[in-house]
């Protein structure tokens, strides 16, 4: 969580965005993020992001479900309360399959969604800075972080050359905070307000 300075460029078309991302990376600017209204395939690779390991997590949750179901049912039928049900075996594997399968799916799905929300910091009440309201509508918003080495004007003209429109500079909280979307309540603004009061 830190307040940072950014240069924001809007793109109307993903076909313009891709070469621009490539140029930003070769120019060596610090690409904070690109916000898009829908998943643009290949953009993660163009930005040099690594593959997500969410599937691996899902697999681990899945086998946790499998072992939980199998071991619990066998424990109940063999150890805790062995019951003679119509002379059937105490370890009826075929009869255990449906519940084992369901729990595998349940654990994998619930675990993955929770991991997804944790990794992306998604939760009711969580708020993040929106660089442009069009980023969930029709704009592809490229955000470049300004470090002490970068010159804001230079980045702006660079973005303009790459085809961006509506280029502006913003000071914003880079992380998330608990807040409401009907209020301007960025943590650093709150601090300024309390200092002024």
């Amino acid at each position: 969580m830190a307040v940072k300075k950014f240069v924001v460029g809007l793109f109307d078309d993903e076909a313009v965005l891709f070469p621009a991302v490539k140029k930003v990376r070769t120019a060596g600017y610090k690409l904070h993020d690109v916000y898009t209204p829908f998943p643009v395939h290949g953009l993660d690779h163009a930005m040099g992001l690594r593959e997500t390991s969410l599937h691996t997590a899902g697999f681990i949750y899945g086998i946790t479900g499998t072992t939980t179901a199998l071991s619990f049912m066998s424990w109940v039928f063999n150890v805790d309360w062995p019951l003679n049900i119509g002379g059937k075996p105490h370890f009826p594997l075929p009869a255990f399959i449906p519940i084992t399968f369901e729990l595998t799916v349940l654990f994998a799905a619930v675990g993955m969604v929770m991991t997804f929300c944790y990794l992306c910091q998604l939760m009711p009440g969580v708020k993040k800075h929106i660089f442009h309201p069009g980023q969930t509508d029709d704009k592809f918003v490229m955000v470049i972080e300004l470090t002490e080495k970068t010159n804001a004007e230079e980045v702006k003209s660079f973005l303009a050359a790459a085809g961006a429109q509506g280029i502006n500079e913003q000071k914003a909280e880079a992380g998330w905070w608990f807040g409401r979307y009907d209020k301007d309540d960025e943590p650093y603004l709150r601090k300024i307000q309390t200092a002024n009061a």
Partner: protein
């Protein structure tokens, strides 16, 4: 030129001249406006039905299951019929969103959101029946394997009825997660263009703080794909397990190995019919004809005629096996008391609605007719209700002992309970249609430039030139 190319031979999935903003506008503006009179009328009818259902359930709980017309011979009647019917309807949503995602069917994007919502509401309705039919509903938690003071005496993990508990609850949870994870980005779209404070606040909470970051989209895609992979066998397993409730018993008419595929096909059949019923009304009222096109309806009608024919094959196979199996009791069930006898009329309603009438969909003109599709979608669901009624009641009402033979017709609390689930279903659906993006916004945008009508028209130029020239131009584009 767009990054992806799709032949103009394929019908566009989005009609009209659209850009990304127009898509947002078309889909979100119904949420922002006031609902029309029709919405209020429909919503209050649904609420009334729900109230009547609640009263019927209260009546049954207060006086006991005796107020239902079930008896010693017919232990399962409308309750389980309705349960299986609703669960079946709940199969189309996950099928559309999961299986068609894996098959890369682009047309899924126009209908998946509403179909998934329908799934969730239908499973909610279905769940009422097994719980209420227990009689002493306050003991319903006995079906959960929790450590108790009665031994602990655990539930019987060998029992298909317990498998059902796990299957239905897992199915509901996974469908809900799948649906809601897809809704997050669309809620964020509503939030970011909201004008009123209340809408900003509520959709802000509902969107969980979604921003549209590329990394988040990457994870979102991975999540959708794995959830689709998990939901595909899940959707097949759920109705398979429901069919086990019958197939693992020894009642003639139930004890057949054909049940799992037969039930799954029937579920998809009825589910798609319900999707058609709802979407034909939704697209008309919300003016979404350009997103839910005749092409979408045709694709679903193809699924209906396929699964309807699978179900028809299953009916004939059952009849054949009843004769070929040489079991006199099974023969009697099918030929004396199901296709004939006092409840024989229900069998012929089922046959007509499920096997004969859907054959109109072999004709393209019929598949693309809104009126025919609407009527057919209702006929199919009547037929599928009777299928479950036939399977349950005609197998039970003539058992091994002629002295216990009986007839069955529902009492008013049974009918009221069924009406009440309609109330619940449509109340939820009306709220969904008003307050949720009815079409998966982000997904439509991701296919817009390959499958939108105005973008496809631009491809005509490329279609006319030889393939070699096109490949050359793409390779040396920059």
């Amino acid at each position: 030129m767009h990054l992806k190319y799709e032949s103009t031979l394929r019908e566009p999935l989005v009609d009209g001249v659209k850009d990304y903003h127009q898509v947002t506008e078309d889909i979100i503006s119904p949420i922002e406006g006031k609902p029309g009179t029709l919405w209020y009328v429909g919503f209050f009818i649904s609420l009334t039905l729900l109230g009547f259902g609640a009263f019927s359930v209260f009546w049954q709980i207060y006086f006991g299951v005796g107020v239902w017309n079930l008896n010693k011979t017919i232990g399962w009647g409308w309750d389980i019929t309705n349960f299986v019917w609703w669960v079946g309807i709940g199969h189309a949503g996950t099928l559309i969103s999961a299986i068609l995602l894996l098959f890369r069917q682009g047309w899924r994007t126009g209908v998946n959101r509403a179909a998934e919502a329908m799934t969730i509401f239908a499973v909610m309705c279905a769940g009422q029946f097994p719980i209420i039919h227990m009689g002493r509903v306050w003991m319903a938690f006995f079906i959960l394997p929790y450590p108790n003071t009665r031994g602990p005496v655990w539930v019987n993990f060998n029992s298909p009825l317990l498998w059902d508990v796990f299957a239905i609850s897992t199915y509901f949870t996974v469908s809900l997660l799948f649906w809601y994870s897809g809704l997050l980005p669309d809620f964020a779209s509503v939030r970011d263009r909201a004008k009123t404070k209340l809408r900003k606040l509520l959709y802000g909470v509902a969107a969980f703080g979604w921003t549209g970051s590329t990394k988040h989209w990457q994870r979102h895609e991975a999540l959708s794909l794995v959830l689709a992979g998990l939901a595909t066998p899940l959707v097949l397993s759920v109705h398979t397990i429901v069919s086990f409730d019958f197939a693992t018993s020894v009642i003639p008419g139930w004890h057949t190995t054909i049940f799992p595929p037969y039930f799954v096909a029937g579920a998809i059949f009825s589910g798609f019919a319900m999707v058609q019923t709802l979407l034909i009304i939704t697209r008309k009222i919300l003016h979404l004809e350009e997103y839910i096109t005749l092409g979408h309806m045709e694709a679903m009608n193809k699924v209906i005629v396929l699964t309807g024919s699978v179900v028809g094959c299953a009916y004939l196979t059952e009849l054949f096996m009843a004769w070929y199996g040489a079991n006199p009791y099974e023969f009697a069930t099918f030929f004396k008391y199901r296709a004939a006898g006092p409840l024989g009329w229900s069998y012929w309603i089922m046959m007509t609605c499920n096997v004969i009438t859907p054959q109109v969909f072999w004709f393209r003109k019929m598949r693309r007719s809104v009126a025919v599709t609407f009527v057919m979608s209702i006929i199919v669901n009547i037929g599928m209700w009777f299928e479950r009624f036939v399977i349950i009641c005609t197998s039970l009402y003539r058992d091994y002992l002629p002295s216990s033979w009986a007839y069955y017709r529902p009492s008013w609390p049974e009918v009221g309970f069924y009406m009440g689930t309609f109330g619940l279903f449509f109340t939820c659906y009306f709220l969904f249609a008003k307050y949720f993006p009815v079409i998966a916004l982000a997904e439509i945008k991701s296919i817009l430039k390959t499958s939108g009508e105005n973008y496809k028209e631009k491809m005509v130029v490329y279609e006319e030139e030889p393939a070699e020239k096109f490949a050359h131009d793409v390779a040396h584009a920059h």
